[in-house]
């Protein structure tokens, strides 16, 4: 009798521990990542259009609360992130990149560099972002922003000394339903120029 009762109790404890361990660790893992559903991917750029909408799903709400973030609301703007170049290779500050030649229509857009932790990188140049009003354009209204560690002519953003980085493109007050009618050809291309040094 006692031999049979002990395994049952042990099995119950095992079941509960398994449930707690798996349930909590998977939830923790989920809220520290990106929202699993509802992402919009245009080339290297990724956005979650519902992140700033009343229809945000429970994962998005949990992730916003976890990050302490205030996402751009639908109707206010739209934020895209890129952590790879247009060929899918991770962005690395040992390389140099060019971003251009077009960006989606918006009242203002801003392009900002971040380090892995989501902070603005510290560089000697001190400039970490371009806005649509600042960027120099050619006669056909195209632009090219060069990201590199060494000084470049034209639109240049200095990359941090080392490590991976991400680029954010924020569209403020875009026309129409944010993101609904964007296509990959509207988004700037992130082209890797050279690596090393």
């Amino acid at each position: 009798m006692s031999i049979r009762r002990v395994p049952t109790a042990l099995l119950v404890v095992y079941t509960l521990l398994l449930a707690l361990g798996l349930g909590l660790s998977s939830a923790y893992w989920a809220i520290n990542g990106n929202p699993p559903f509802g992402s919009l991917r245009l080339g290297p750029w990724q956005a979650w259009p519902l992140l700033g909408a009343p229809e945000a799903d429970p994962y998005m709400r949990a992730i916003i609360a976890r990050r302490g973030d205030v996402p751009l609301a639908t109707g206010e703007g739209m934020g895209f992130r890129a952590s790879t170049d247009s060929e899918g290779k991770p962005l690395d500050s040992a390389c140099s990149y060019s971003i251009g030649p077009v960006a989606p229509i918006a009242r203002v857009w801003t392009l900002t560099l971040y380090d892995q932790a989501g902070r603005l990188p510290a560089t000697e140049l001190g400039r970490r972002s371009f806005t649509s009003a600042e960027v120099l354009r050619d006669t056909q209204d195209r632009f090219s922003i060069v990201l590199s560690r060494t000084v470049q002519p034209g639109n240049w953003l200095q990359l941090p000394a080392e490590g991976p980085f991400t680029v954010a493109l924020r569209l403020y007050d875009p026309p129409g339903a944010a993101g609904a009618n964007l296509e990959e050809t509207d988004m700037p291309v992130i082209q890797r120029l050279e690596c090393g040094a």
Binding site: L22, A62, A65, T112, Y114, L120
Partner: protein, 187 residues
């Protein structure tokens, strides 16, 4: 073999309960979070003007991934003190309001394109306060307020002003700070 069967059943039960715990944890976390945006802006509940949380330049802010080109200011509100009126004069710089629930999530957003004669004014209230305001209204002189029903009693407004050039950053910060948020007594 019988012992192994019991072990498999216990594992399956564990997995099913784990799914339930996962869902419960995800649903509960916005309510339990103590480092979310609302808990950081709560100090601004009594302020009459929006308080800067991320000045242009993006330095010294708790906001993750700050945009250096924008000034972000906030007002927290508690509708138990009455409806909240958020108003500002708009200018040449793009300005937007977004209304957030205490537990995260946006319930309304508007840009300065909706401004009337250079004034952008929104009143956030509960459904009950809306009914009261309607009942108290003079039919011949209806209120022109833009009224938004908030799904929760507490929340916060985020004001974003974009400075397209660095020289406009001080102006953007001034515009963001100039937004007034006032609780109305039985409006």
């Amino acid at each position: 073999m019988r012992g192994f069967g019991r072990f498999v059943i216990a594992t399956l039960c564990g997995l099913v309960i784990a799914v339930g715990i996962h869902i419960a944890a995800i649903l509960a976390s916005p309510y339990l979070a103590d480092q979310d945006a609302f808990s950081k802006v709560q100090a601004t509940l009594t302020a009459e003007k929006a308080q800067i949380i991320s000045a242009p330049g993006g330095e010294n802010t708790w906001l993750p991934n700050p945009d250096p080109a924008t000034a972000v200011a906030t007002c927290a509100f508690d509708l138990r003190n009455g409806p909240m009126r958020v108003s500002t004069r708009t200018g040449s710089l793009p300005l937007s309001f977004s209304f957030h629930k205490e537990t995260g999530g946006v319930f309304f957003a508007v840009t300065d394109r909706a401004a009337v004669r250079g004034e952008l004014e929104i009143v956030a209230m509960t459904g009950r306060q809306l009914d009261e305001a309607r009942a108290a209204e003079d039919e011949n002189d209806p209120s022109r307020d833009v009224r938004i029903v908030a799904p929760e009693l507490q929340g916060f407004v985020i004001v974003r002003v974009v400075a397209p050039a660095p020289s406009l950053r001080p102006q953007a910060e001034e515009m963001a700070k100039a937004v007034s948020c006032t609780a109305e007594q039985d409006a």
